[in-house]
Point group: C2
Amino acid sequence: SHSIDLAVIPGDGIGQEVVAEGLKVLAAVLPQDVKLETKEYDFGATRYHATGETLTDADLDSLKGHDAILLGAIGDPSVPSGVLERGFLLKLRFAFDHHVNLRPSKLLPGVATPLAGQPEIDFVVVREGTEGPYTGNGGTIRKGTPHEVATEVSVNTAYGVERVVRDAFARAQARPRKKLTLVHKNNVLTFAGHLWTNIFNAVAAEFPEVTTDYLHVDAATIFLVTDPARFDVIVTDNLFGDIITDLAAAVSGGIGVAASGNINPSGEFPSMFEPVHGSAPDIAGQGKADPTATVLSVALLLRHLGYEAEAGRIEEAVSADLTERGDAVRTTAEIGDALAVRVAS
Amino acid sequence: SHSIDLAVIPGDGIGQEVVAEGLKVLAAVLPQDVKLETKEYDFGATRYHATGETLTDADLDSLKGHDAILLGAIGDPSVPSGVLERGFLLKLRFAFDHHVNLRPSKLLPGVATPLAGQPEIDFVVVREGTEGPYTGNGGTIRKGTPHEVATEVSVNTAYGVERVVRDAFARAQARPRKKLTLVHKNNVLTFAGHLWTNIFNAVAAEFPEVTTDYLHVDAATIFLVTDPARFDVIVTDNLFGDIITDLAAAVSGGIGVAASGNINPSGEFPSMFEPVHGSAPDIAGQGKADPTATVLSVALLLRHLGYEAEAGRIEEAVSADLTERGDAVRTTAEIGDALAVRVAS
Ligand SMILES: CC(C)[C@H](C(=O)O)[C@@H](O)C(=O)O
Ligand SMILES: CC(C)[C@H](C(=O)O)[C@@H](O)C(=O)O
C-alpha cells in the first residue's frame, strides 16, 4: 500500500503533546511516495464533559474505515474512575477485537533502570486483550449497604485463548531465542488455569522448536526483577498482562519508553497503537512528557502495516537517542525533533 | 498464657528443614516458664499420595484445638497443580477464616536487593485472605472442546472488605508514618473496585490521623521498584496481594526472608504462620534452604500470641545476622543455630 489513512486520537493530558511528536517522526520516516492522511478525533474527558459521550456507534463506524489508530492517552481526574476506561479504551479494544496486546520491553545500554547491574532485558509480552476479568461481567447487589456483594467474572474461551497463544508461539518461533513463557495462576484459578495450560501445551506440540516455560504470575514478578534475561516471549491473560507489563516497563527504562499495540491480526478492524503510560495530568501542557513511548508505538504501527524498514529505522533512532542523550533535560518537542532528524537521515 | 500449644506442619520439600530451625529458635527464645507443646501433622504430598486426602474435617477439628499453626511449605511437582493449593492451603485459610494475610517487607542494611541504590523499604501488606478470585467460584463448560468456556468469579462482600480495611487502618495508625495505600484496579474491575474504594473512604473518616493513598495494581508494581519508600501499610485484595507481596519480597531481600501470617484476629480459630516461599523441591534435603523466613514467621506467631518482647528479640537477631553475615555460605542448620544463639543471649 502506498498510502496510510490514520485515525489520530490525542486524548487527554500529555496525549496531545506526545502524539504531535509521534506524527512528526512518522512524517519524517515515510518515503516521499507514501501518502499519509490523518484524521483527528476528539475523544476523551473534554468531549465527555461536553456531550456525555465516550464512544458512540457512529464513532466506531467512522474509526473502522482507517488503516490504523494512533492514541495518546485517555483519562482525567475530573471524570469518575472507570468511565473513560470502560467507556472508551476497553470499549474500543473489545469492539475492534484487539485480542493481541503487544508490549515489547528492551533495556537499552545507558538507559536508567531501577535494577542494579544493568541486566539484559529484551522480551515481548503478548497480553490477551478481549477476555479475562476485563469483560465487565459481574455486578453488585445491595449496593452501599453492609450486605453489599460485588462480583467480577473472568471469562476465558478456548477460541479466545487459542488464538492469542498461537500468535505468541509464532512470535517466539520468529525470534532468535525461540522461548515462550506462559504466565498464569493455574494453582488457584484452576478453571481458567486449566484452559490456558491445556491449550498452551496443545499448541506447543505444533511448535517443536519453541522452548516453553510456565510461571505463576506472582513468581513472574520476582523473575522480572531478579532475572529478566530469562524472558523472551511471554503470553498471559488480560489482567496479569496489565500488571506485569507495567512492571516490565518500569525495569526496562520506565513507562516513558514503553510502547504497545492493540492488534487485530485478521485486519477485520484497524489496530490501535498507544504508549503504555497514561495522561499524566500533573505534567500536561508543560513540554515535559517523553514522547519516546509514542514514537515507539508508531514503529509498531508501521510494522503492523508492513513498513518493516521504517519501523526498524525508528527503533534504531530511539536506541541511538537514548544511548547518547546524556544528562541534558529536553522538552517533548526537542526529543521529537531529534528523533525526526535521525529517522530522516 | 504460660503455655503454647502449637500445630506444626512441616509439609513438603524444604518445609521440613526450615520448620526444624523455626522450632529451634522458638525454643531458644521462650522464657523457661512458658511450656511449649507441639504436635506434628503430616499434611502434604506424601500423605496425599498415600491416602488421597489433603485436609479432612477430622483434621480441621484436630487443628482447631491449637493456639496457632506453624507451616513450612506445601506443594510438590508429583501432585497436579491446584490439588494441594486448593485442597489444603486455601481450604485451611478459608475454614479458619484467615482474613488478614499479613506480609511485612523490610530491607535490612547490607542485605542484597535487585534494586540499585539500596532504597529504604519498610512496609507491610495486609492482604485479604478469604474472598476475591480465590473463592473457587466459577467453572468450566464444554471442557476440552474448541467451545470450552472457563470462568473465575471474584466475590467481594462489604463484610469481608470492611473488616480487613479496618484492620489495615488500625495497623497504619499504630505505625510512626501512619500511611495506608489501597491497591486495586477500580478503573477496570468497577464492581469490586467501587466496593473496596467506598469502604476504604468510609473507614478513613474514622482514622483522621492516617494519610491515605490509592494506586492501581499495575502502578503499584512500578512504585515497588522505583520508589518503595512511599509505602507504609498497603491493603489489597487476595489476588493483588498475592502478586505484589512476591514482588515486595523480591525487592526487600528475597523470598528467603519473607514471612507471613494468616490471621484470624477474633481468635475463633487458630492463626497460621508460614514463609512466603514454597517447597522448592529442587533444593530440598540438601541443607541449602534459608530458614530465615520461617524464623521471622515464628516472630509473627509470637507477636500474635502476645509475646511481643520475644518477637522483637527474634527480629533483632535476624537483623543482626543478616547485616553481619558477610559472604559465608551457611547451611540451613547453621543459620538456625546462629539465630538460636542470638535470641537466647
Ligand atoms: C487504563 C486501563 C484501562 C488500561 C488497562 O488496564 O488495560 C491500562 O492500564 C493499560 O495497561 O493499557
Ligand atoms: C501457593 C498459593 C496457593 C499461595 C497463594 O496464591 O496465596 C502462595 O502463592 C502464597 O502467596 O501464599
